[in-house]
């Protein structure tokens, strides 16, 4: 059990909100080699510390803010992973976000921040190097994410500090609440905002002045520079630099046929030209913003220049936010869509789940399954921005009938409403799907179906892709600026950077084994909660209804596709036909501590 030589400090900041104390928790090098950091390390902690059927809102659950070994080094585009057991789905969950928070945590001398307990009064935590302070957040409680962020920066008197805060949605414990990082970036999809609200933690602010130790700097810099060069020169990425992910809105509509439209009714949405990247460029964008050391600068900031909200500075649209709150809601007015996006960010709501819920509600109202009387007399119609804005506000505050119903999420709404509503619910493992329609873009089903969070678009689009993304999310680097560009060289580059950085002897085989180990750890956690092959499938609608129009007209995700995907993936990671990791796999991956748990789960769920 040796301390890490480089890349990591070997200590995680463990904060106990019950007593408002903190301590350094030693993490030996072996565990970093096994689980890397970020999501992987969180999965390791979670599988070790939680028993099966843990209550995600219990006092001793934790949130892990995890950078990886590459954060704070010369590697490009490093991010932050935030992982916890999701109170929304009851499964393991992780969210990745851009901006500079992860690096600042590393520079403060910590490998991650592990927050547990529940404070009696609202607090926010200031972390400056080794100094941790608990500050009163009573005055910030109730403020939106932007005001909170600004208030924290004002109090610290340090424009270089980095923050992660929740908005009113998190405080009101809406299960789709997210964490807003540095005003414009969101760590969503994992219910972390709700958990932070439950712990009465309004936010954290981090500032660091240290450096990450590197074992063999010359070799590390050589590989890091090579990785950077690939990203700078990649021809296909010039478009992303120019248009951000908003450019994909038009692309997925015209070429891929996978743009989410009106709650998965179709993928053909000609009005996309009114809300897509080109229109945003004409009417909205003002500047490009990059994360740490990233040449791609995909975030676009802009200002609304006419109408009621003239002068509103917001970000977007990105592909997911523009898809879910744009084409999914039938929006035809760019400004109205941007206002919805900004409202979600300010309230601290997950754009994707919010869009999914609103789309689902609209379709049910349209089909007469849900009566307007059930949602406070509001009548959501495709493209009706004002009603959607009102619904978002009620959702964030759980206000009235509408707020209470919508804040439950699509799965529970469908159950409560009944009358065949579940056919229109586009959910996998209890979570709304993102903006890629898997009928048009079949490979995306890998991510939706096998991703440990469920319904998540950010977990790889092939069997190997899932292992790569498990690594990327644990290294906490951007899949966009690194993983997708490195392509076939992923293992080579990652190993080439990690070995000189941490002083390890990792081989490319170890890379794949580590990826599989992280996937298996997360899977084991979910198996304990009752996940198996029966849950690894797309919703019924996407498997029966053919696409009515567009470039992929007539496409449908068939039962054969599902079976093929499942068999292929299970054999790749070494799980059995039920989608449960076998004992041999667990032994081979060094996860012996999970064997008993899995045996118990097999008995419990008859797998």
């Amino acid at each position: 059990m040796a301390a890490p030589k480089g890349g990591c400090f070997g200590k995680v900041l463990e904060i106990d909100l019950n007593k408002l104390t903190y301590k350094a928790r030693e993490v030996p090098d072996e565990i970093y080699q096994k689980a890397i950091g970020g999501n992987g390390l969180a999965a390791y902690f979670m599988t070790n510390e939680y028993k099966a059927h843990k209550d995600p809102l219990a006092e001793d659950t934790f949130i892990y803010f995890g950078p990886g070994p590459l954060n704070g080094t010369y590697c490009i585009a490093t991010r932050t992973s935030i992982a916890n057991m999701s109170p929304y789905t009851g499964k393991i969950s992780h969210a990745e976000t851009g901006a500079h928070l992860g690096n600042e945590i590393k520079w403060a001398g910590w490998d991650g921040i592990y927050v547990k307990g529940r404070a009696k009064k609202p607090v926010w935590i200031s972390i400056v190097d080794d100094k941790v302070e608990f500050k009163d957040a009573t005055k910030l409680w109730g403020k939106d994410s932007v005001e909170t962020h600004e208030a924290i920066i004002r109090e610290l008197k340090d424009p270089y500090a980095r923050t992660a805060v929740i908005g009113p949605a998190g405080e009101n414990q809406v299960p789709i609440a997210c964490v807003i990082v540095e005003r414009f970036r969101a760590a969503a999809r994992s219910g972390t905002g709700m958990l932070m609200g439950n712990k009465k933690l309004k936010g954290i602010a981090v500032r660091g002045t240290k450096a990450v130790p590197v074992v063999d700097n010359a070799k590390f810099m050589e590989m890091a520079n090579y990785a950077k060069k690939l990203c700078v020169e990649k021809e296909a990425w010039q478009g992303i630099k120019r248009w951000g992910t908003a450019g994909l809105l038009e692309l997925k509509h015209y070429v891929d046929g996978s743009l989410i439209t009106k709650n998965f009714q179709t993928t053909w949405y000609p009005d996309i030209v009114k809300i897509g990247g080109e229109e945003a460029n004409r009417r909205f964008w003002k500047r490009h913003v990059a994360c740490n050391h990233c040449p791609v600068h995909c975030l676009k900031l802009g200002v609304i220049r006419e109408g009621k909200y003239r002068g509103l500075i917001a970000e977007g649209p990105e592909y997911e936010s523009g898809g879910l709150l744009g084409s999914n809601l039938g929006m035809t007015d760019l400004n109205a869509m941007l206002i919805l996006i900004e409202a979600c960010d300010a309230y601290g709501l997950d754009n994707i789940s919010t869009g999914g819920i609103l789309g689902f509600t609209t379709e049910l109202v349209e089909r007469g399954i849900l009566k307007p009387a059930d949602i406070d007399g509001l009548k959501p119609k495709w493209g009706d921005g004002d009603t959607y804005l009102e619904l978002i506000r009620r959702l964030a505050h759980k206000e009235g009938k509408a707020g209470k119903l919508l804040s439950k999420g699509v799965t529970k709404m469908a159950k409560e409403i009944g009358k065949g509503a579940d056919y229109y619910a586009a959910v996998v493992k209890g979570k709304e799907l993102a903006a890629h329609d898997p009928r048009g873009d079949k490979a995306r089903a890998y991510s939706y179906v096998f991703g440990s969070c469920g319904g998540d678009h950010h977990e790889g689009a092939s069997t190997r892709g899932l292992a790569i993304f498990a690594m990327l999310n644990s290294l906490s680097v951007c899949s966009f600026a690194t993983g997708l560009i490195w392509g076939g060289e992923n293992a080579k580059i990652t190993v080439g950077m990690l070995n000189p950085l941490c002083g390890w002897n990792m081989t490319e085989d170890d890379y794949w084994a580590t990826g599989k180990r992280i996937l298996t750890m997360e899977r084991c956690f979910n198996v304990r909660e009752g996940i198996s092959r029966k849950d690894d499938r797309l919703p019924k609608r996407l498997m029966t209804e053919k696409l009515p129009a567009g470039p992929k007209k007539g496409a449908v995700f068939t039962e054969e596709d599902t079976k093929k995907f499942q068999d292929e993936f299970y054999s790749f990671v070494g799980w059995d036909a039920n989608g449960v990791p076998t004992e041999a796999t667990l032994k081979a991956l060094g996860l012996e501590y999970l064997i008993d748990d899995i045996a118990a789960a097999r008995k419990e769920y008859k797998l």
Partner: protein, 251 residues
């Protein structure tokens, strides 16, 4: 406009007389940033450039930041700290990227003023900081520098640029990387598309910036916010969140 008059007094006075020089220049003469680049030494340096260049002239003598182009990627901080310490450590970098209201990124650089107030203010004899005649870089003599108890250079810096090394309390001053600034190279590598680099060296062949240097980072941020996000008045936030919280909903 009040702000701009205060920030760029020289520029506004000299605008008419320097017009001829600007003719044919690629810089849009209308923008405040471009105006700010025209300053006292312009004419003199242009004459100097006309002569056949001597080998020493290849060294970079001035930094320049096209502030509108900054994407906030901090490649300059990375390159600077790697050049000076070998590892990435922005807290000891000699260039910084400040977020202003999280909307604007302001590159905070040393403008290499021609009157060098930091050197003038240095109380030691001989001076702990000197300017290198070849490349204009400010070189710190760590043995002489009084460190945390003095920091007169930090006090007088008109651009609020000087940071303090957290290890020894001494100021962090831009030494121009001996004439080949690493930050400029990193910026050019990184941000070619679509708006071009932010940091440049020897822009237009002169280093002026006498107007630029008096602008503190916060002022620059406020100015840029005003300039780029024009319908928004500085400090005023428009948001759907506030507007939605109407009395009607409360009732």
């Amino acid at each position: 406009m009040e702000d701009k008059e205060r920030n760029f007094p020289d520029v506004l006075k000299r605008e008419s007389t320097r017009r001829g020089f600007l003719k044919g220049s690629v810089i849009a003469a209308g923008s405040a940033v471009a105006l700010a680049t025209i300053g006292g030494l312009a004419a003199k340096e242009v004459h100097a450039q006309a002569k056949p260049p001597e080998p020493k002239k290849d060294l970079m003598k001035f930094l320049f930041a096209e502030r509108q182009n900054c994407t906030g990627c901090r490649a300059c901080e990375y390159a600077c700290s790697v050049f000076h310490t070998g590892v990435v450590r922005p807290s000891v970098a000699r260039v910084h990227v400040m977020k202003y209201k999280d909307v604007i990124d302001v590159p905070v650089i040393c403008w290499h003023c021609s009157d060098r107030p930091c050197i003038e203010a240095c109380p030691t004899t001989p001076k702990a900081i000197v300017a290198d005649p070849n490349h204009n870089g400010i070189i710190l003599n760590e043995k002489i520098c009084l460190g945390a108890k003095c920091l007169k250079c930090k006090e007088v810096c008109p651009a609020d640029y000087v940071w303090v090394n957290p290890d020894n309390g001494q100021p962090l001053l831009c030494d121009m990387c001996a004439g080949e600034p690493a930050c400029v190279k990193a910026c050019a590598d990184q941000s070619g598309n679509p708006q071009g680099p932010c940091l440049m060296a020897n822009k237009l062949g002169f280093g002026v910036n006498m107007a630029f240097r008096d602008v503190k980072p916060e002022q620059a941020g406020a100015d840029l916010l005003d300039l780029m996000f024009y319908p928004n008045t500085v400090g005023k936030r428009v948001t759907p969140v506030k507007t939605v919280k109407t009395k009607k909903a409360r009732r």
